[in-house]
Amino acid sequence: MKDALGAPQSLLLLGGTSAIGLATARRLIARRTRTVWLAGRPSPELAAAAGSLRGLGAEVRVVPFDALDTDAHPERLGRVFAEGEVDLVLLAFGVPGDQARDESDPPAAVRVAQTNYTGAVSAALVCAGALQAQGHGSLVVLSSVAGERGRRADFIYGSSKAGLDVFAQGLGDALHGTGVHVMVVRPGAVRPAGAAGRPEAPLTTTPEAVAGAIELGLRRRSETVWVPGPLRLVASALRHVPRPLHRRLPVPRP
C-alpha cells in the first residue's frame, strides 16, 4: 500500500533497464519500497539491474516482457498482480528510434510506433484493469516533451509519444474516483548527470531529477509533471509559435 505521503511499497517497472525507471526505483527503495518487479526483455543488463536493486535491500523479481508482443501482456503482467499488491506501475519502456533512417525505412518507423504507442496502450490497459480491481495504485506513464508539437527532428518518436500522452490523459479521467491515479510525466531531453551532477544544457534534465519529480508527483497525486518544471511554460509558449518559426528552432534529441 502507498503511505499517506504517496510512497509505494511495491513497484512494477515496465522497461526494467530504463535509466529513468531505475533511478526512480533507487529513490523509492530509499523510502518505503521493498518489492520490485522488473519487466523487460531478458538480457545481461536486466539481470545486472536486478542485482543492483537487490544490493539496496529490495526483493527483486524479473518478469520477461516485450512491448511488441502484446498478445502475451495479459498473462505476463496478470501474473505479477496475482502474486501481490502493486502500488506503482512505472511505464518506462520506449525507443527513440533513428529519425533520419526510419524516414526511409517504414518498417523500422512502425516498430518505434508499436513499441511506444500500441505496446504501451496494451500494457497500460492490462495494468489499469488490475489496479482497478485492487482498488488503489498509481500508473505513471513516461511521455515526452517531443509529443507536445510535431518537430522536424523527431516526429516519428514524437507522434508515438503524443498518442501515448493523450491516451494516458484519457485513461486518468476514466479512472478518476476509482482510487487509481494516473500520472503523465513529460521530461525534456534526459542526459546522465555530468561531473557536477547537473546536465549541461538548459532545459535538459537527468534521470535522477525525473525520479525526484515522480516521487513528488506521487505525494501530490499530480496528473501531469514536467521535468524540469519550467518546461511547462516553455512548452506552453512554443505551442503558440507560428509554424515557419517553429520549423527553424533547434531541438535537443530526446
Binding site: M1, A4, L5, A7, G129, A133, G135, H136, G177
Partner: protein, 416 residues
C-alpha cells in the same frame, strides 16, 4: 479489463481517513441491522472486509482497497439502559456524543467520554475505558458476546477492526449533577516549564491537555477541567434551574465561558462538520505517539525536534500533549502510562516523511509507540518494536480468522 463498470455502481466509494490522503476504492455497504452486516460479511469478495465508523481515524485504518467496507453509521440505536447498574447498551455506529446528549437529562454520562466518533470506532481505536461488554461479529458470520478480560475482548480494544465487527457495546455510566466542567488554564513560557509543572506533583484531573506552540516563542497552555457538582454552580446562574439541560443552540455554548464553566466535551455538537483545519487539497498527516512515564527527556527531545529551526514539524503550528493515567490491556492497545503527543501536519510539507521516520525511531527507542488508528505512514519494521505483543495479536487473529477475512489498507501496509 480496465475502465470496467465498477465505476457505474454507486456502491463503490473512494474512501480516505480524516487526513484525506491515500484514497482507495471499496464496496461500501451500509447495513441497517446485525443480520444485514452478517450478510454483507459473508458476501464479501476475495479482498476481505473491514468495519468503519465515521471515518475519523487519521490514516487508512477504515479503508479496504478493492474489498468490502461495512459502514456502520446506520446501526445507531440505543438498545438498553440499566440505571441501577449504570450501564447502557448501544449499537456500534452510535455517535458517542449523541449518546451522551441522550443520557444527560437522566444525569448520566458515559465513562468512555463523548465525541463525534462512533462507539465501535472508539473501541477499535483503543479507547476501552468503561466498555463492559461487546458483541462481535466474527469471520464465520456468527456473533458472540465478550466480556472484559476475555483475550478476544482485549484484542478487540485497539484491534483496528481486525478481530471482527463490533455490533454493539455495553458502556459504563457515571452520574453527573450538571452539564458543566470547570476549566482552568495555566500558561507557561515554554514546554520545559510545562513539563516541570506537570511532573512536579500537580494533582491529576480527569481532563487535562496542553497545547504547545511550535513556532514563535514556543509557549504552552495547559487546560485542566473537572466536572462541576450542583453546589458548585455560581449562585444565580441560569443553570441552577436546569443543570442538566442541553445547550440551547447546537454549536453555541449555553453560557459564556465566564466563571470557567464550559459544557462537558462532546455535548455541544460541532457546527462545522469537520473539526480539522483545511490543509488544501493535499490533506494532512496526523502523528500521535505515546511516551512512557519516566521518559520525559525523550518527550522533551521530541518537542525540541518538532520546534527546531528548519523542522518540517513547525508546519503543524502546535502540538498537543496529554497525560495518560493507565496503559491498555490488549496486545495492540495504544495507551501507555505516561504521555501522549500529537500534531497534524500538512501532507505537502517538504521533508515530512523523513522527519516523521526520525521521530518514530526516537519514540521506539524510548519504549513508546505510534497510534495505529491514526497512522498512515509508519515503517513496518518498527511495528514489532513498538508493539512487543504483536505476535500474540497475530496468533489470536489466526485462530479466530484463519483466512484473514478482516483486512484493511492499514493491515496490508503494515503487514499486520
Amino acid at each position: 479489463m480496465a475502465v470496467e463498470p465498477l465505476l457505474l455502481d454507486d456502491d463503490f466509494a473512494s474512501l480516505t481517513g480524516a487526513g484525506r490522503t491515500a484514497p482507495s476504492l471499496a464496496l461500501l455497504v451500509r447495513p441497517r441491522s446485525a443480520a444485514e452486516a452478517a450478510g454483507a460479511l459473508l458476501g464479501r469478495g476475495p479482498r476481505g472486509a473491514i468495519a468503519r465508523g465515521r471515518g475519523l481515524a487519521g490514516g487508512d485504518a477504515g479503508q479496504n482497497a478493492g474489498g468490502t467496507v461495512l459502514g456502520l453509521t446506520a446501526l445507531d440505536r440505543i438498545t438498553g439502559l440499566d440505571r441501577a447498574a449504570g450501564t447502557v447498551v448501544c449499537e456500534a455506529g452510535t455517535e458517542l456524543g449523541a449518546l451522551a446528549r441522550t443520557l444527560l437529562p437522566l444525569g448520566l454520562w458515559p465513562c468512555a467520554g463523548a465525541g463525534r466518533w462512533t462507539a465501535g470506532g472508539a473501541v477499535a481505536s483503543g479507547y476501552g475505558q468503561g466498555v463492559e461488554e461487546l458483541e462481535l461479529l466474527g469471520a464465520d458470520g456468527g456473533s458472540r458476546r465478550l466480556r472484559r478480560g476475555d483475550p478476544l475482548f482485549d484484542a478487540t480494544v485497539g484491534g483496528l477492526g481486525l478481530t471482527g465487527v463490533v455490533l454493539s457495546v455495553a458502556l459504563a455510566l457515571r452520574p453527573v449533577e450538571t452539564a458543566f466542567l470547570r476549566e482552568r488554564t495555566a500558561r507557561f513560557p515554554d514546554a520545559d516549564a510545562l513539563l516541570a509543572h506537570w511532573t512536579g506533583g500537580a494533582p491529576p484531573e480527569p481532563y487535562a491537555r496542553a497545547r504547545i506552540e511550535l513556532t514563535g516563542r514556543g509557549r504552552a497552555v495547559l487546560t485542566t477541567a473537572a466536572p462541576v457538582p450542583y453546589a458548585g454552580l455560581p449562585r444565580g446562574h441560569r443553570a441552577r434551574r436546569a443543570p442538566l439541560a442541553l445547550p440551547a443552540l447546537p454549536g453555541l455554548p449555553l453560557l459564556p465561558r465566564a466563571g470557567g464553566l464550559r459544557p462537558l466535551p462532546g455535548l455541544v455538537r460541532a457546527r462545522v462538520p469537520a473539526p480539522f483545519p483545511a490543509y488544501g487539497s493535499g490533506g494532512f498527516v496526523r502523528y500521535r505517539c505515546a511516551v512512557p512515564e519516566g521518559r520525559e527527556e525523550a518527550l522533551r527531545g521530541l518537542l525540541a525536534l518538532l520546534a527546531g529551526r528548519r523542522s518540517p514539524g513547525r508546519a503543524a503550528r502546535h502540538a498537543r500533549v496529554e497525560r495518560v493515567g493507565a496503559g491498555g490491556a490488549g496486545p495492540l492497545a495504544f495507551p501507555v502510562r505516561g504521555w501522549c503527543l500529537g500534531f497534524d501536519a500538512p501532507a505537502g510539507t517538504p521533508g515530512l516523511g523523513r522527519f516523521l521516520d526520525v521521530l518514530d525511531e526516537r519514540v521506539a527507542a524510548a519504549g513508546g509507540r505510534v497510534c495505529l488508528a491514526e497512522d498512515g505512514r509508519l515503517r513496518p519494521a518498527l511495528l514489532p518494536v513498538m508493539y512487543p505483543r504483536l505476535d500474540a495479536f497475530r496468533e489470536l487473529r489466526a485462530s479466530v480468522d484463519p483466512r484473514s477475512v478482516f483486512r484493511s489498507d492499514l493491515s496490508r501496509r503494515l503487514g499486520l
